[in-house]
Symmetry: C2
Subunit: 511 residues, 2 copies
């Protein structure tokens, strides 16, 4: 067992932080509640960005960049929106510093305070109003990758920090139907991405009014269940109706020559996804990365005593790299990702995924441990006996399964297939966990018992109601994670009020 990682059953919250620290994914920054995403963690974010971005492009979206600072008056224009964000925003009031009696003091007071964007509906709405005149200018399908800030009281690396990185899509449409379809299309994009790329089974649903985005008409989300039985919202997609269009005057001359307000949507996913994959997949020995999001696919640990052995092992290791990278990527050997003792070789230049050979001056056991804690899917040991036999031991991080393979067994196809197998195994494991921890409750007491003793999702009839939801949150710390979609049109008694309702929801304690 890893000495630097607290076991999950002893202290799940500490285990989470220990896994992050051991894998060097992130650190707290000197400013309270902010984080530094270290190279190992940022590479995971880059993998997420590449894949999501491709999905956005393929659904017709383009990227753009809107300003960090938003006039305070913009935030205030939409009533729900300002209530939702005013209490947690960073306010810029000055444009310079100057020397005062006790060091630097803010100077150049601004006429109007500026807000560091907590989200960009307002400023993007303002720009869209200038870009849209006719129905011919619609739809506008724009996404932005950027940083945002929300001053949170309780922070937790990746899951909830004052500043975080995300993407926010903002679209404007001619009709409500088109905008609603876009909202659901992007929900599907997120769900497919979570399952196909992060091996994260998710449940799609609609938020209750109490939980929706401030200013939205309807909010949808994907929810995943973490190993401690708490839910985590992984992405959201909002149908904003004409709310922001009316406030920011996004109007167009329609096909019928009448002026109408546009229908808009917004949707986002953030670095929180990194928290989700840590919490869902890792174990007491540290991080386990889903293979498509892993910066390093395989770590080769050479074992040798003499210089002659070292040389033989090095030659064999080069052959292993070449076999895995394939003939098209022979140039990969020249494209090393770093020049230090940990030599990285790109096996796929497009995704920047790599294989490393660990030549550091350290014991092989320590090196194994190093890559294990970083969640690298495969580790390959190569010693003098392996060289002699032309074989090697390949160890899977996920389940410690060992395989002895010959050099001839390796190829880019083998690597891709292996990654596919590991991905499928991780997804199946996570799905089984989620299914086993989703329970039906017929009564409020039963739900209370499940959520306090076992956690997980509780599926129940529930009539959404702000007051009821506040009480449930107060009494059992649970919230409605989502109203289930695609449910048959049955009716049942609300678990809280007993009133008949057609809505079934998932309750859970959540991050």
């Amino acid at each position: 067992m890893a000495k630097n990682i607290k076991p999950r059953h002893q202290d799940y919250a500490q285990w989470y932080l220990d896994v992050i620290k051991a894998a060097q994914l992130a650190d707290y920054a000197p400013v309270k509640g902010c984080m530094v995403i270290r190279p190992e963690g940022y590479a995971v974010w880059e993998a997420i960005q590449r894949d999501l971005d491709r999905r956005f492009r393929e659904t017709g979206h383009v990227n753009a960049y809107f300003p960090l600072l938003i006039p305070q008056s913009f935030l205030a224009r939409e009533a729900e929106h300002v209530e939702g964000f005013a209490m947690e925003c960073a306010v810029v009031t000055h444009s310079a510093l100057q020397r005062g009696e006790n060091g630097l003091v803010p100077a150049g007071k601004l006429e109007e305070p500026l807000i560091v964007r907590p989200t960009s509906e307002t400023v993007i709405g303002y720009m869209y109003s200038q870009w849209v005149q006719s129905y011919r200018d619609l739809p506008l399908l724009i996404n932005q990758w950027c940083n945002v800030m929300r001053w949170e009281l309780r922070t937790r690396l990746f899951l909830r920090t004052a500043e975080f990185l995300w993407q926010e899509g903002h679209t404007a449409h001619e009709t409500a139907e088109e905008a609603r379809a876009e909202t659901l299309r992007m929900l599907d994009v997120y769900a497919d991405f979570a399952e196909q790329f992060l091996a994260l089974p998710v449940i799609k649903g609609q938020k209750t009014d109490a939980e929706k985005f401030p200013g939205a008409d309807t909010t949808y989300s994907i929810e995943a269940l973490m190993q401690d039985g708490k839910a985590l919202q992984c992405a959201t997609s909002h149908y904003l109706g004409q709310n922001f269009a009316k406030v920011f005057d996004i109007k167009f001359l329609g096909r019928d020559q009448k002026t109408e307000f546009a229908y808009t949507t917004s949707w986002g996913a953030s670095t929180r996804l990194i928290g989700a994959i840590i919490m869902m997949h890792s174990d007491d020995d540290g991080l386990i990365l889903p293979p498509y999001a892993a910066p390093t696919l395989a770590a080769i640990v050479p074992i040798f005593k003499s210089d002659a052995e070292r040389q033989a092992v090095a030659q064999f290791a080069e052959k292993v790299v070449a076999a895995l990278a394939g003939p098209d990527e022979l140039a990969a050997a020249a494209r090393r990702s770093s020049s230090d003792a940990i030599r990285g070789y790109f096996v796929d230049q497009m995704t920047a995924q790599r294989i490393v050979v660990d030549w550091r001056d350290a014991r092989p056991g320590d090196k194994q441990y190093h890559w294990e804690q970083r969640g690298v899917p495969l580790r390959i040991e190569i010693g003098p006996r392996d060289v002699a036999a032309g074989t090697m031991v390949v160890k899977r991080r996920l389940d410690r399964e060992k395989e002895t393979l010959a050099l001839g067994d390796l190829s880019p196809q083998w690597l891709r297939q292996k990654m596919g197998q590991i991905h499928a195994a991780m997804l199946a494991k996570a799905r089984t966990f989620c299914d086993q921890n989703t329970r039906d409750a017929q009564s409020y007491d039963q739900m209370k018992q499940i959520l306090t003793e076992q956690g997980g999702f509780v599926r129940a009839w529930f009539k959404p109601d702000r007051a009821a939801e506040a009480k449930i949150k107060d009494q059992i710390k649970a919230t409605v994670r989502c109203i289930l979609l695609d449910e048959p049109g049955d009716t049942g008694p609300c678990i809280f009020s007993g009133e008949p309702t057609q809505t079934r929801v998932l309750f859970a304690q959540a991050y």
Copy 2:
């Protein structure tokens, strides 16, 4: 001549803004001095990012993310640094808004003001001090892509805005030699990138003390000459010595078991590069994009009258796309970048470069004009007669050269070759311009005459001196752009003081 673009010779500054507007590259944001980078402009930035990022990876760097907000006290620790940045920084003083008598007012006053990063040496230095203990932890080779803010009085889209996007590399090394080598290596990376990717010939040099980065030991830059004869600094690379390491306590136990401060570097390039390519390459008809940075490589303009003609032209256009995308990319047809009237087909998924077929309800002439103003390297006209003959007219944006080609002439190789030819032609043209506008001056009066009448670079003997440089700036608005590297060790009389000096510099008026 384009009616919406002022000719260069009449008003170069207005021409620049008109080109940006006509190509829809960027807009001013509602916050003074900030910009919105529109999709057409942002796609150019993404192309720049992809290529620079690959170059950084291949030289052993990894990406990370550091926080947006920096404690005010951090900025103050390095004396030159604070002088350089205090007067132009955005200051966050509150963490919330609340309802006051006249609307929202800032609330939750912070104990210490926070600065929106103007650059990240300070906060990265602080983190490095925690990550570095031994020489084994060095070198640290990290890059960050992010937004920064400097409150500028006079702004110009891309060239100088309050907020801009950039990358900042920050490295820490065991020895001064290694750090100096890194500084020059990255200068070379920038110079190669500018020439090979942006078709921008640049001059590498060292800044004088008066012009160097606040806190640096030595600053190097690449400088390019714009069409109006003014210079533009395109990227900088700083050797910081132990300045920041001492202030932020980045120290390590060396090979000799002694504790020493690390030697650090930083280097950056920004969205200003988009300004450089606009100013260097475009003409009175609008934007001309260097092909490797062009989001759209070719625009196909269909010409038809009847539905039957439209159908025949559409079929032929699909064949043209398939020929250019090649057999490996046949799936490209399915991977359309948008579903609206302008249909985009990726010819290279990795670089996201595409070909478009313009099916909008507009006149062919207007469509030609549309793509011309957006700087697309190639336009292809396809009408019924072309379909009948199996040929098409391909028009080069750069020089309006027309070629009639058969369908069989087209292939991915042809497209790559064409792009290479256009790139080479643009680089040669720009280099000729730069060479023709670089003049030697033997006297101050001669330099003054050249710079006021002709502009361009003036090469001269000069002994760097803050007072002299301030006077020259005052008198002829020129600054030392750089001290030339690789000059023979001759001695000559300083153009300003007449004192003997071994340094030769380039003077110019600059953006």
